[in-house]
């Protein structure tokens, strides 16, 4: 790595972890981890993964060992991200009794549909000339990001159509994850194709994206929840006869 890239590289490698420590501290201090336990677990896991990878990077010379641990971390991290999306679905849908019956089918069928799409694309992707392990790991990462980005997109589309209300924290988590998964889809696709060439530049962009996303999360963890809305004051155009009739109809139902 060229010396002039070293400083931004270390800033972007260590920066998100500092922000994540603050996020985890705030989640615990404010008791928000009870509201979003999987997100809290994901943040804690990201920090643990970072420590393990830093130790491996500085004390273990074997690149294969580093890549094995990196891949394991990627797998667990992806599983936790699916858990976060499941958590978001629960938060958004649980607030509305009319939606409780469709939460699980919507999540399940959306995930299955995007999984099929991911497998079809994976089957038709020609192995590149890069290292097979590298190719396979990034192909899996690409497939996982198709499912994750698809789930978040469907959730946003659905909630936009029904104008569902979100708590600020859950919205911030979904927004950050949506941006992260969308862009990581592109990075994984490029990495699986071009191998380790341009790896440093891609890593910088990837880490920059992650930095932006953790900042989005931090912003929404710091934002206070909306205070109860005031009932709008307006001069009523009361029609007591109409009201009485409607209430009578309602009681008859």
């Amino acid at each position: 790595m060229t010396p002039w890239l070293r400083l931004p590289f270390y800033c972007l490698w260590f920066g998100p972890r500092v922000v994540q420590i603050i996020i985890l501290f705030l989640l615990i201090k404010r008791g928000l981890y009870r509201e979003v336990p999987i997100f809290a677990a994901y943040t804690a896991f990201s920090l643990c993964k970072f420590i393990v990878l830093v130790v491996l990077n500085y004390y273990v010379i074997d690149h294969a060992a580093y890549f094995r641990w990196y891949s394991l971390g990627l797998g667990i991290s992806t599983a936790l991200r699916i858990g976060i999306i499941c958590e978001i679905f629960t938060h958004v849908f649980a607030a509305h009794a009319a939606l409780r019956n469709i939460q699980t089918p919507l999540f399940r069928w959306t995930a299955v549909s995007f999984l099929i799409v991911a497998f079809v694309f994976a089957a038709y992707t020609n192995p590149s000339t890069t290292d097979p392990t590298w190719f396979n790991v990034h192909l899996l990462e690409r497939s996982a990001n198709i499912v994750l980005a698809g789930l978040i997109l469907v959730l946003f589309l659905f909630s936009q159509y029904l104008r569902l209300s979100w708590s600020r924290l859950v919205f911030g988590i979904a927004l950050g994850l949506g941006v992260l998964c969308s862009l990581e889809l592109a990075f994984a696709a490029i990495r699986s194709q071009i191998g380790t060439s341009a790896h440093a530049a891609l890593d910088l962009v990837d880490m920059g994206t992650y930095q932006c996303c953790v900042l989005i999360w931090l912003a929404y963890v710091l934002l206070p929840e909306r205070s109860p809305a005031h009932v709008p004051a307006d001069v009523p155009e009361n029609d007591l006869e109409l009201w009485n009739n409607e209430i009578r109809n309602l009681l008859r139902q």
Partner: protein, 183 residues
Amino acid sequence: MIITIIFVLLSFLSLAAVVFLTHGRTESPANHANLRKEISPLDIEAFRNLIDYREEEFLRENLEPADFRLVQRERLLAAAEYIRCASRNAAILHSFGESARRSENPSVAAAGNKLANSAIQFRLNALRAIVIIYAATVIPGASIRRIRIAEGYDRMTSLVVLLGCLQFEKPAAYASAAPQLST
């Protein structure tokens, strides 16, 4: 390489969609007085008439098949337009319900919750009904008897009025919206 390019494009589209879909959510809640003005009156009886299967049978018996198909298609498209209009009204009522459910008055909050849920249920039913109606315009003879939209709309209107009654001592916009919902 083509698949990689497709994925890069898809990822940027997905990012743009996420940003677009989340854009309005950070803005302050809509002004209820302005929202009320956006409600479009709906002739429920005319709508019931459009999706009444007895009317359909009557037309089928008295018109030539080609004429019937043409008339029925027009009726179905008109019904779809009614549903879209009702669905837009439901979205506005959902905003009213959402505001009311955060009220400190438990009765108002409960009524607001009911209204919000009814509006969501209505919009889901409307989506299903529009799919059925468009399918019926393409597939001759397809039945639209399963559509139960008008009842849901009536129930929602009643809930708006109930919410208005509960807010009687704390005057609100909801009750005055109800007469505009149906004509």
